[in-house]
């Protein structure tokens, strides 16, 4: 298994003005992780944890503040976001967006949307060849040919989602980032799309970074999972392990908050987050655990020393002074 993507000490700070003073919002604060070829890694976190920012850093639509990103051992972190669109590596890292309605140009037919990626990112030039590729891709994602000439407002949610997926895979990227791809879809359609993604992953040999706040969905599709909170990774490990034996209090709270909990898990009501306000991501205290105030297990040590992500078992890392069970 070789390394497809490596993120090293990734940092992204946004300048903000608070009460006329210049401060920084620590959206992503020192992330380290990797994705291997053919692997599906899940990224779990709630709103404000920085996963959208991380996704944009990885797809290079946003510039880094600090840190490195290595793709196939090539450093891509320094490629400017503006230059990435025309970079030869653009075709290797693609993304499926959360809201299929918002991510399709309302004035382009499905065919035009998919063909654009072909024309701009591949070597095909003849329109006959491009059309053939578009139709082949549509078939791969289960989109009937007749639907290709429709506009987004004439397509259902599931069909639009398929167009979004087709557009992303048409260049056969090695890394596909999926930003909550089924969040905007009805549960009746969710299963087909997830099964489709699973099939494509195996057929086309892609690696996935599957971003979601829905633990149930992540568990179905992912080999490994990263849990993010306020700009940091708090836990990582094989998906089944993390969900059935969660170590970090935040992961435990996530699982306990699920209606019905995850079947076979060990979280309970006592794991739920206690009622404090989440800490602010603006200029956070560097020597304090970010979950303090909501963590059911907070102590003085947590106030004085920020826990570091460290390996506690084979392939398992946690950032907590008092990880459960391990």
């Amino acid at each position: 298994m070789h390394l497809l993507l490596e993120a090293i000490d990734l940092v992204k700070h946004f300048p903000v003005e608070v009460h006329r003073k210049q401060k920084f919002l620590h959206a992503v604060d020192g992330l380290n992780f990797h994705i291997e070829a053919g692997e599906t890694v899940g990224l779990v976190g709630e709103s404000g944890c920085g996963k959208s920012t991380l996704v944009r850093l990885l797809t290079r639509t946003l510039d880094l503040t600090e840190g490195q990103i290595r793709f196939h051992s090539k450093s891509i972190g320094l490629i400017a976001a503006r230059a990435m669109a025309v970079h030869p590596l653009r075709r290797e890292i693609q993304m499926v967006f959360q809201d299929p309605t918002d991510s399709l140009n309302p004035r382009y037919t499905a065919r035009q949307t998919i063909a654009e990626s072909v024309r701009l990112l591949s070597d095909l030039r003849k329109s006959a060849e491009i059309d053939a590729e578009v139709e082949h891709c549509a078939e791969l994602v289960g989109l009937q040919k007749e639907l290709l000439d429709r506009y987004p407002h004439q397509l259902s949610g599931g069909q639009k989602a398929r167009v979004g997926i087709a557009r992303a895979i048409v260049t056969r990227p090695r890394l596909l980032v999926l930003d909550e791809p089924t969040a905007a879809l009805d549960v009746s359609v969710q299963a087909v799309i997830l099964q489709l993604l699973d099939t494509l992953k195996r057929e086309l040999g892609m690696s996935f970074l599957f971003v979601s706040h829905d633990l149930n969905v992540v568990r179905l599709l992912c080999d490994r999972v990263l849990v993010m909170y306020l700009g940091q990774i708090v836990e990582s490990g094989p998906a089944d392990e993390v969900f059935h034996r969660p170590a970090h209090p935040y992961t435990r709270a996530l699982i306990a908050s699920l209606p019905g909990g995850l079947a076979g898990g060990e979280s309970s009501e006592s794991d739920l987050l206690i009622g404090g306000d989440p800490q602010s991501p603006i200029d956070p205290e560097p020597n304090r655990c970010r979950l303090l105030g909501r963590c059911p297990r907070g102590t003085e040590l947590c106030e004085q020393q920020a826990p570091v992500l460290r390996e506690v078992a084979e392939g398992r890392s946690v950032a907590c002074h008092f990880p459960a069970g391990l």
Partner: protein
């Protein structure tokens, strides 16, 4: 979530795009029957602009085709003016000039203002500041006075009227284009376009601008009436088209001095037609807005 949009079982089920548009058209006309009137008037004006000179019963520039200052008769439906010219013919022929000036000015304004606004809204930064200050500067003047100033400085030609009208209308297009594109730049499909390999300029021209066209189109149709009035106004005060050219504004100016002495028809007919033209375009603009942008329906 839009599972309420029906998936069509077969191609035969799918209503054609035209059927949808026809229904919307019927609805708009039903809500506001005047829009049919406006459409009819618009067709008439376009016809007159295109083939007016052929339809005019008399040569608009020829004097003494009838007794001077004669009221409307069967021979001269709109009467004659002080030089014995047939007013009907002059009004018909003036359509081409007035509409032509308005169309030229609005097109110029729309394209330049739209592009500047789109750049400003999309790129922000100093582009936006520059365009913003330009727009503010123009709008700081009473617009008609500014037009007067431009024509007075550059000379009384049709080209300068077009230029002046175009300049004073720039801010409206800049504003609409800037507002729409600064909202659109955060849309999901814009980011998707970048991921598909579109550089920034391509994103602007292929994704942003096509999507700001609907509100711009509405702005154009609402602006036409104003542009016609502008051109006529400039001519009325002598800063526009020069005699003996037939133009509505000049004709109203020429006729104004005769109202007191009782020859009301010389100013009234050109004035009425001018009013009808502006009314027609404003109404058309409203209907177009209803058709194109249902959110803004009044």
């Amino acid at each position: 979530m839009d599972s309420s949009i029906p998936a069509f079982a077969s191609k035969a089920d799918r209503p054609s795009a035209w059927a949808g548009r026809w229904n919307t058209l019927r609805y708009v006309v039903a809500e506001n029957p005047l829009s049919l009137v406006a459409a009819g008037l618009f067709a008439m004006f376009v016809l007159l602009a295109l083939v007016g000179p052929v339809l005019a019963p008399f040569d608009p520039l020829a004097s003494n085709v009838g007794p001077p200052l004669s009221p409307p008769t069967l021979a001269h439906w709109f009467g004659t003016d002080a030089l014995g010219r047939d007013i009907l013919s002059r009004v018909i022929v003036a359509t081409r000039l007035d509409l032509g000036i308005a169309v030229a000015a609005v097109s110029l304004s729309c394209v330049i203002g739209g592009l500047l606004g789109a750049f400003a809204g999309y790129f922000g930064g100093w582009t936006e500041r520059l365009v913003g200050r330009t727009s503010d500067t123009i709008m700081a003047f009473p617009l008609f006075v500014l037009a007067m100033g431009i024509v007075a400085a550059l000379g009384n030609t049709v080209a300068n009227i077009v230029l002046a009208t175009a300049i004073i209308n720039l801010p409206f297009y800049m504003r609409v284009a800037r507002a729409e594109s600064s909202v659109l730049k955060n849309a999901g499909f814009v980011e998707a376009a970048r991921l598909a390999g579109n550089g920034e300029i391509r994103v602007l021209f292929h994704h942003i601008i096509p999507n700001i066209l609907p509100p711009m189109t509405v702005q154009v149709s609402l602006n036409m009436g104003w542009a016609i009035l502008n051109a006529a106004g400039l001519s009325f005060i002598g800063l526009g088209v020069r005699p003996p050219a037939a133009e509505w504004g000049i004709m109203v100016a020429e006729g104004a001095q005769y109202i007191v002495s009782g020859e009301w028809w010389i100013a009234l007919f050109p004035g009425a037609v001018l009013m009808l033209a502006v009314f027609c375009f404003n109404l058309l603009g409203d209907s177009l807005r209803d058709l194109i942008d249902p959110r803004r329906r009044t």
